[in-house]
Symmetry: C2
Subunit: 355 residues, 2 copies
């Protein structure tokens, strides 16, 4: 690939602080490989909503659709009622661009601080469904505000949506050394959705006889993530369970400040979108305390998706080197205290060192 035509939505809170670090590392990685980069920033987020009432227009969507990929910082602002920006921007993008794979790796680098006493070797990926389930916006209420109110939320699961995601997860598991796939659901209670998910996994398992497949209830999965996270290699799950599990997995593997994600349309019919899994963190916005590593790791996921495995690997190696520096400092009892920019610079320097 000779060039990347990238759209950037820095967004809200710490978004405008972390995104430049991602772009800095991206430019350096591409300079080495000779790929041209064009970056178009889009002012989408809280400020525009507060100024104009607009979240994401049809014109925005059309413009964004013309890019090879999207890099997003964070969406969400305390001045806006919870959910408006998240739903009308973040979720709308995931739906409009059919980002059915929400790919969320969790790796605990050796020695990196974690809340677990004996974390073991955490190296898992959650393949979260991104376009259906309880996120479909199906639901409503009657007698709103009255003592007789009934409010519903409908989890919608299609065979089409489930199968394409589960297939992606099997392919991913086949590419990893452990070849282990775990369906996480709550099939003992959610029999209809659970039945569809379990039958889909069972059917595809026959096509992938060398993948070791098992099942885990979502409640038990939250236990294993703290008692035995090594139990997991690839997890395939629905939209809501994936949301929950990836925050917990991020927390045990060094914090959500390190956790990258891709909202992927594998067929390339639409641009895929890459973002840290953490939110806009308004409490630390503007302080320079945000860790840009998750954004930089999301850039690496993006490069891999775009077929640029070389630059992706270089960024990942630089992140690993920086993790070693963190581990060393922690071992010496003087954990690193660095600003957003300093972390970006350190990862950049690690990449140049490795050249």
């Amino acid at each position: 690939r000779a060039s990347i035509n990238l759209a950037v939505i820095a967004g809200d809170g710490i978004g405008p602080e972390i995104v430049p670090e991602g772009l800095k590392v991206l430019r350096a990685a591409l300079a080495e490989s000779g790929t041209e980069l064009s970056v178009t920033p889009y002012s989408i987020g809280a400020q525009r909503y507060l100024d104009t009432g607009e979240t994401l227009s049809t014109a925005d969507l059309e413009a964004l659709a013309g890019h090879d990929a999207l890099l997003l910082g964070a969406i969400g602002d305390p001045r806006v009622p919870a959910g408006i920006l998240e739903r009308e921007i973040l979720l709308r993008l995931r739906f409009a661009f059919d980002h059915y794979v929400n790919l969320r790796p969790s790796v605990l680098y050796p020695g990196v601080p974690t809340p677990l006493a004996e974390p073991g070797n955490i190296d898992l990926v959650v393949v979260r469904e991104g376009t259906e389930g309880l996120y479909s916006g199906n639901g409503g209420s009657v007698h709103r505000g009255m003592p007789t109110e009934v409010a519903t939320e409908v989890s919608v699961n299609t065979a089409h949506g489930t199968e394409r995601l589960v297939r992606y997860a099997f392919e991913l598991a086949a590419s990893r050394p452990r070849r282990h796939l775990t369906l996480v659901h709550k099939t003992n209670v959610l029999v209809h959705a659970g039945g569809l998910w379990q039958r889909t996994v069972d059917r595809l398992a026959a096509e992938y006889p060398d993948i070791n497949v098992d099942y885990c209830n979502v409640d038990a999965a939250t236990i294993y993530l703290v008692t035995d996270p090594q139990r997991f290699d690839v997890i395939v799950t629905d939209n809501l369970f994936g949301d929950i599990l990836t925050d917990e997995a991020g927390a045990v593997s060094g914090g959500v400040g390190l956790a990258a994600s891709g909202n992927i349309n594998p067929e390339g019919d639409f641009p895929s979108m890459f973002e840290p899994i953490h939110g806009s963190a308004p409490d630390i916005a503007g302080t320079g305390k945000a860790d840009p590593t998750a954004t930089i790791a999301s850039v690496a996921l993006m490069l891999r998706h775009l077929g640029l495995a070389g630059p992706a690997a270089r960024i990942e190696a630089a992140i690993r080197a920086d993790m070693e520096a963190r581990a060393e400092a922690s071992a010496r009892g003087v954990p690193l205290r660095r600003t957003t920019t300093q972390i970006g610079d350190a990862i950049l320097a690690a990449m140049e060192d490795n050249r």
Copy 2:
């Protein structure tokens, strides 16, 4: 209260091993206080289902309804397709007896082994809704087994069901020193159900001006449970989120082997049911490895519900004493290895010592 007319469902797996320990401690606690106890065992569970095809009959329900309370060990067996026993026995009891409060305390006793490196002082209670939400059994599928299948699950939330639970949670928070109540939900995505829950909490908050109320997304809550569990005092949440959070909370506070629960009908229109939150653990059934502490702690919750605070406190003190013994042994580097019966005996002995 001069007597307790108790129904006991030992159930499956480790159920028949842990329940006798609970009863042993119960008898001793009541002997001290002079309350009479009559125990009626019910053979409900996997074996009866396998023998007769019956899970819970109308006659069972009528008989059980005549008791003051139910003590349940565990339900679930690998010989029966996942979900049948759980839904037709456990959930059916919760629904039929209107157990709308699913009360699940998590306390980490000092020095007790936990997967967290720095757990801090964990002392929280989850007030989980028990009769609605995604557990309502509303849902279905069309084109089952075909490439066009659509499977749905409906979370049903009523103002009635939400208000009575939230009120219970406010009362509970008011009785605890920290007076802190956290609503956990996903209001930014599940706007209809989330709106009802948030509005209900906001409305009742006005009646409880001295309670400190806040909100936390369910995904973020799974992070706090590993990074800062002290953040929580009383959590109020829906059926599914409560299921997920209480397993994680159990795991960080010494394991689900310690976690008690009450399925409570506060008005006393129906008998309440007390059970450990762990399952039937078929992998260790028959080995004597199961920890009966959660069952014994559930007995204490039951006594408190029945107005017998004295015996409840004596059991809780005995559990605390046993926790200290565990902590000491762990500190000496020789964690206690005891059978189910030995743990029951130790708690019993601690209770007699305290007399």
